[in-house]
Amino acid sequence: MDARRVTSAVPRVRQVGFFTPNAPPQQPGPTRSQSGPPISNSPPLSGSPASNSLSPVMIPPPRHLSDNLGRRTAAVPVPGRENAGYHGTVGSYNPSESVLGLESPPPSRIGDGEFSEGTESSLGWCRRSNSAKFASSFPGGGFDLSPAKQPESVAGVEAKNQLPEKSELQKEQASSSKPLKAKTTKAERRALQESQRAAKAASKAEANKSGTPGGAASSKPVKQPPQKKDGPPVAASIAASERIGVDHPAEKERKKDVPPPRMQFDDESRVGKAKKRSVLNQPETRNRVELFRHLPPHKDGTQLPHLESKFFELHDKHPAVYKVGLQYLTGDLSGGNARCIAMLQAFQQAIRDYSTPPQKTLIRDLTSKIGGFVSFLIECRPLSMSMGNAIRFLKNRVTKLPLTLSESEAKAALCSDIDRFINEKIVLADQVIVRHAATKIRDGDVLMTYGSSCVVEMILLYAHELGKQFRVVVVDSRPMLEGQKLLRRLVAKGLSCTYTQINAISYIMHEVTRVFLGASSILSNGTVYSRVGTASVAMVAYAFHVPVLICCEAYKFHERVQLDSICFNELGDPDAIAKVPGSVDVSYLDSLTDKQKENLELLNLKYDATPSDYISMIVTDYGMIPPTSVPVIVREYRKEYLLI
């Protein structure tokens, strides 16, 4: 088991499928010793493919599917966990296979190996490249260079890392003689130049940081490694230097990523301090249920005039952000995706209109600016976890901006990053989810949904368009009555619907064949954090052996673990449950005197946590997965969307 885990730590090449344990080169748990002289494993290394004894189905990393993403991950080196894996892969695999097979993060991997290995691996490198076939196949293959295949959107960094690699190898083949110049294309030369420039910039930055004079000899990460003489890949070292240059900030970043302990609203001193800072009036914390006093009190639309009057005081808040904040406050914007998209677009607007103040750097200033926006939005309404993920993505993009970019370039890059996040992680993800989920709807099904989830609505409409015959049961609850909105849209499209309140769920459940639910967030223990009431629906469905499908985009997955819905939640307006607007005859609570009201505590929770036991399947943009696989998605893809 342990050995297996080691293999899976080697990030992208997996021996899933078939592997021959007898073949020495792919023994799990690679040993460095093999790497030095590659002769031991694969003596011939001749052109005949028969010479290597590998498992026929060792699957190299993907090239098509999440291509851009994977590649991008590769381009920007990720510190930390992978390093170990990369070390392993460089050395110990059967060389021809490993290099051919591993393609997703080549520059960083090689750079890494090259760098930390020193002579041993460089020896291996030269050896390997002695084999003519191998060397020639290397540049083209390992790095997937063919321009046709290269996605348009590949970042400049990547081009920098890749192209030089190729020219470098050509140089190597030509035994570092001059004809190189004739061979390289204009683009390649340019890329090389650019990469050198980048290296220089990085070295300068590094030197400044470490305080050592920027000599090549002293600053460790920047100096050209000694392999330079025997025709080493400059690009690799550049990659390495960039990587290391990025490394330490990234470490700090990670520390920063750990959220500070959440504000506990039953801690009076801190609440007092927060009140002074806040732009909104903190409502009185009277008559609140003991167990939930730590949660931020609900702020309702009545504060709107107050906030509006402060418009000119809050000059540092961009109007777009301000508008979104007001929309949150009044509840005009609701639904995880809508809120997230609105927020991102507001940030995009703010970034477009941003100009770096004198004597400040864009990266630092913009980060703090975004932090300011975020805290303003939090004051209007607590953020959902998915928005937290989006913000983390954005901040990461800002901090990872290359120093060499000009302000306008940086802004353009950020804006396109935001667009891409919205497009890939939300819009396209929804389409994929819809298509997956529709395969689970059969003719004659009775589908139940609760509240109003936009993904579920899309699924139902899509299945209806496909001509599937099914019936929908919309379950709803007070005080939001979101289900009615959904119901209205579904009925307008001609679906046959049943509408009921959550009280009747145990009655209606026996005729239901599938339950489709949305989610605000999915935590890594498989707990689904969603609109309050979801847990009851899921539990009743479980008791009736009805499969429960949760439809949720992967950007809403969060690595937090939560066992109950108490420690983190959002409070709604307590009056909303006490009063039934419009119907005077049921306003029993109105007649209470103030003294009587002192004994009354109202609790209007917005979310609840559904344990993973009650969930049959999670439909996400990576396919249909069991709830136990959420941490896998988080582990495999979080770094990717942080680094898109």
């Binding site: 899933v16 026929p56 599938r514 990576y622 495999e636």
Partner: protein, 406 residues
């Protein structure tokens, strides 16, 4: 080694001849019982019957009446044609799957596949991959892209030809995955890429056998002296596991379910008896009755699905339920090429693999017969999966699948 001594084999043979319940030649026995129902089962249109289970039946030398009737009808025709009426129909419009023209004859990936899958020791996935290799060989493509498209077509036609076989689908997917990920870009020319792909495909069979060995080795830690193992159906992997355990001189006994409707349990018990393992045959409905004597359940799998559950021969689900209720571990042995990107939500949520059932007596026409050949066992009833990737809990399957296919 005593169990290989000739005298032992002679003893076995004598015993077999005495023993009526283990027919030395199942065909003969079958022939005697099949005529009444033959007409009945012939009414089933051929396309309704799972090709996967036909292959299995052929491999196991258990001949269904339907198969037999077809074989009789096919006398005098080409040997190829007898069980490919489905394939003929489908292959013709697809123009030979992903075929080029080879030697003037239209090449069909499905015929190729049918040829391969007749070999008894060859797993279905291996046959599929060999068939795809044949496509590569026959192909006249000159670029990798062309070849990829051709292969895609071929694998699609293979998959659609028999939608019931999970390992066929998984095998095709796996190979396509390999092809699309390691393309010509890694090689200086197209031909070396091509030969590399073919070589990979050839090795596949070997690997599948090796996977069985690995699984057998891994499972040895779980079989302890004096234990009683309940097995269901005939699985080559399970047999390998038990064989290895016997070779390691473990003392255990095996309960075999009878394995309706194709008597797979009979066959397995026959094999085990040859190894001198104490074996007891149960009827399928006696599982709950004898579960308290059982220490563990070992089953094979037709397919391991994304939830970590398995799709296996009919009856596995109820055995797992009973075992779970009685707190007996349920172990699944499956090669990793059986991992499929499927996620059935319940029993009816998969393509049914139909197979005629021979009840031995005529069935009134008004009576409906459940002919589905397999069921889905949800992961919560499985304890561990023994695979060539290691011993996995059901939830790891999804992990592996995500890493494999995403």
């Amino acid at each position: 080694m005593w169990w290989r001594s000739p005298s032992f084999i002679l003893d076995r043979q004598q015993q077999q001849q005495q023993n009526d319940s283990v027919p030395p030649n199942p065909e003969s026995l079958f022939l005697s019982s099949s005529p009444p129902s033959m007409a009945d089962s012939l009414q089933n249109p051929k396309s309704n019957i799972s090709a996967y289970y036909q292959t299995r039946a052929a491999h196991h030398a258990v001949v269904t009446s339907d198969w037999l009737a077809q074989a009789q009808a096919a006398v005098g025709r080409l040997p190829d044609d007898d069980d490919s009426s489905g394939s003929e129909r489908k292959a013709a419009p697809t123009g030979g799957g992903g075929g080029g023209v080879r030697g003037g004859k239209v090449f069909s990936v499905i015929n190729e596949f049918n040829n391969w899958r007749k070999q008894p020791d060859l797993a279905e996935a291996v046959a599929a991959i060999r068939a795809l290799a044949a496509v590569i060989r026959a192909s006249e493509a000159t670029t990798m892209m062309e070849l990829e498209i051709e292969l895609k077509k071929a694998s699609d036609s293979l998959k659609s030809w028999d939608t019931t076989s999970i390992s066929l689908t998984a095998g095709c997917d796996l190979f396509m995955r390999y092809v699309t990920r390691t393309s010509a870009l890694e090689y200086e020319d197209f031909n070396s890429a091509r030969s590399r792909l073919i070589e990979r495909a050839e090795k596949f069979g070997e690997i599948s056998c090796k996977a069985r060995r690995i699984i057998a080795m891994l499972s040895q830690d779980f079989i302890f002296d004096g234990c009683t193992i309940l097995v269901h159906g005939f699985s080559r992997v399970v047999l390998e596991v038990l064989k290895t355990a016997a070779q390691n001189k473990k003392l255990f006994r095996v309960f075999c379910t009878e394995g309706r409707p194709d008597r797979t349990g009979l066959r397995l018990s026959n094999e085990l008896a040859k190894l001198d393992v104490p074996v007891k045959l149960l009827i399928d409905s006696a599982v709950a009755y004898s579960m308290d004597e059982v220490d563990m359940v070992i089953v094979g799998a037709d397919g391991v699905v994304e939830s970590g559950g398995i799709i296996n021969m009919m009856g596995t689900y109820q055995i797992a339920l009973v075992a779970h209720r009685m707190n007996k571990p349920v172990y699944v042995t499956a090669e990793s090429y059986k991992f499929a990107r499927l996620y059935p939500l319940d029993q009816k949520d998969m393509a049914p693999a139909l197979r005629p059932i021979d009840f031995g007596v005529p069935i009134p026409s008004k009576v409906e017969v459940e002919t589905s050949a397999r069921d889905y066992t949800p992961p919560q009833y499985l304890t561990l999966l023994f695979t060539d990737l290691g011993v996995l809990t059901p939830s790891v399957v999804s992990d592996e699948l995500i890493q494999l296919y995403l």
